[in-house]
Assembly symmetry: none
Homo-oligomer: 421 residues x 2
Amino acid sequence: MRVELLCTGDELVTGLITDTNSTYLEARLFDLGVKVARVTLVGDVRPDITGALLEASARADVVIVSGGLGPTADDFTLECAAAAAGVSMEEDARVLGWLKERYAARGMALNPGALRMARIPAGTEPVRNPQGSAPLVIQQLGRAHLFFLPGVPREYRALVDGEVLPRVRTWLAAEPGRTFRAFRLLRTVRLPESVLNERVMPLAPSHPRVVFGFRTHAPENHLKLMAEAPTQAEADAALAAAEAACRLALGTHVYGADSSEYAPVLLELLARRGHSLAVAESCTGGLVAQELTAVPGSSQVFIGGAVAYSEKMKSAWVGVPPDILEKHSAVSSQTALAMAEGVRAACGATFGLSVTGYAGPGGGTPEDPVGTVYCGLAGLGMEPRCERISLSGDRDRVRLFAASHVLEMLRLHLLAAPVSP
Amino acid sequence: MRVELLCTGDELVTGLITDTNSTYLEARLFDLGVKVARVTLVGDVRPDITGALLEASARADVVIVSGGLGPTADDFTLECAAAAAGVSMEEDARVLGWLKERYAARGMALNPGALRMARIPAGTEPVRNPQGSAPLVIQQLGRAHLFFLPGVPREYRALVDGEVLPRVRTWLAAEPGRTFRAFRLLRTVRLPESVLNERVMPLAPSHPRVVFGFRTHAPENHLKLMAEAPTQAEADAALAAAEAACRLALGTHVYGADSSEYAPVLLELLARRGHSLAVAESCTGGLVAQELTAVPGSSQVFIGGAVAYSEKMKSAWVGVPPDILEKHSAVSSQTALAMAEGVRAACGATFGLSVTGYAGPGGGTPEDPVGTVYCGLAGLGMEPRCERISLSGDRDRVRLFAASHVLEMLRLHLLAAPVSP
């Protein structure tokens, strides 16, 4: 089944709003094993809408159209649908009845705008909108089924879930020789996209039923695996085999799958072991603390963060001895180690993390140019350690990758350490 | 000039990510007076990409294509471009040189994935990518100019701003009988979109040459003013008049214009007065510090931030007296005031800011339910003050608006205070 989406509205092509309706519907369809073939956005221009309707219905089995169904003069998507089908617009008695009920319930009279919404292309089927006035309209154009939905996200989602997807599901079940799909997203860190590719693509020929895809989500790279097979069981088995092979090739670079994000995974590792955490940040300026505390319930694990931008606060808050700062400077492995152990001790936490470096664009020294960052990890019963990294890119990128690196030091330490009984 | 966008990638048609690149580019083009005619999203399917390239280039003068330029096996947009033009793929010596330089700077060898990026369709023009490996590629197909950009937002935006838009601007300037435009973005805080709308829309009829538009960028709302006239001088004059009227109606809600972002504006206000700043955060967890320190040069003003998630650290780092915590709890005006003054004194800063509250989803009390946040401001030579706010929405939204609120307390204080001589 080939499905296309068509979204209309000037606001979608002038940067005023981002089309999140399609993201929603695509994900729902993908859960049913349908990959949307094409999404088209056009402005409020009649020939553009009519043309896009004709093109999409020539290619697809199902076209889901949104926007331009409301009461105002720039709502003319259904008129374009009538033009595409070569039929007239007619007032529909059922829709008129729904509108009268809805307006009466609000103590309002039907105005000319509302009456516009009762006019639909001849030969189409209206379906009542539980969340709004404009009905869902279903049209047959050639071999394609067209659904017309309002663009308001609340109404759109209600009609997608309540009316569109159940029909699509019925058609899919009736398809002879349909394809079943299974999907997994493996989330990796510390791997440039080209290296990720090198590691997993040699596995692809052994998994012919699985499509390998990639996505960059800095500082992470994600591997997308999609299995296709004539039965769900075969798709699931093909996916499981490919996933196992990829996980073996990627090792600890895979921190989570599907919707598991990094900070919750790390916090869960800590919580499961009864550990707590404190961080001392210089160049990341609160980014590490912010990422961790964005997670609901993080206060069970996260005790405190010191954003020690000045030398004075590195001493006052996390007890870096002034002579270390003087002798080795604030950007040094000695300072990073003292910050990690200092913040751990100050907060009475199991682990302390630290970041100090030159995020740029100013600063740096010949030995430690902009992009140099020292990351520290200290913990109860372990030798504190420091890693020096060299990052390229602008200030935002250096901060982002430095924050990721220091958190990874902790995650890898936890993975290597046995869970206490 | 007819402009279309084409975005490729399975992640765009399966609900994994929302296409925000197009929103960005549409807005930039609209600033130049160009309304994008159509946006098309297709998955990683060769015939779909090739077909969409041919269709778009038959309709448009300029087609801006993104995605599928990277080092991995599912990056084949340029191969589709070669197929559409009926030319071969060739290794380009310039691109190869750029890649070698880039990889050498990172101490990495060129791998086969990287080498893929040196292959571009014969007869096309590569342009170096300042933010990544894959170059921008420019192709002439029929009468259309095609630009191929990587989909990674940072690289996409850098190439849009640095390479694509300057060329579009030059072509527009050469168009006969063109309309001249002038544009201003007024950035506001503390105003819901509906209130912003109510305040400025009554002004619109007096400025017939100016189009009023709105854009929500939480926690801010922006007003877009675009003047159109037969000469540049008339467009500039019409814009200036509308801008003056809107600024009068909006007062201090307007914190900046065009590309001026909030944190740099606030830091500049502080720096100009020779002031310094420290922050103590509880529920925002480092978000305030992170926003401020993301600005290059912020270390001139920002001294330190304490993310005091536990009661103990509120006392240890920012000197909140334990009896205040006991008597009034950690989420109270008394604690917020003590945190603001405490962090100011600890850092020796001119001003101290504090945030403590219930970001949710857990926590809260009958008197102070989830969404309640206390924001504190203390400063040398001023009475410390605290504001209690009630925010709706999820954890992310509460944190975002709380951070914005406390920074606004400081900005409004600075605007009200005379600049010392």
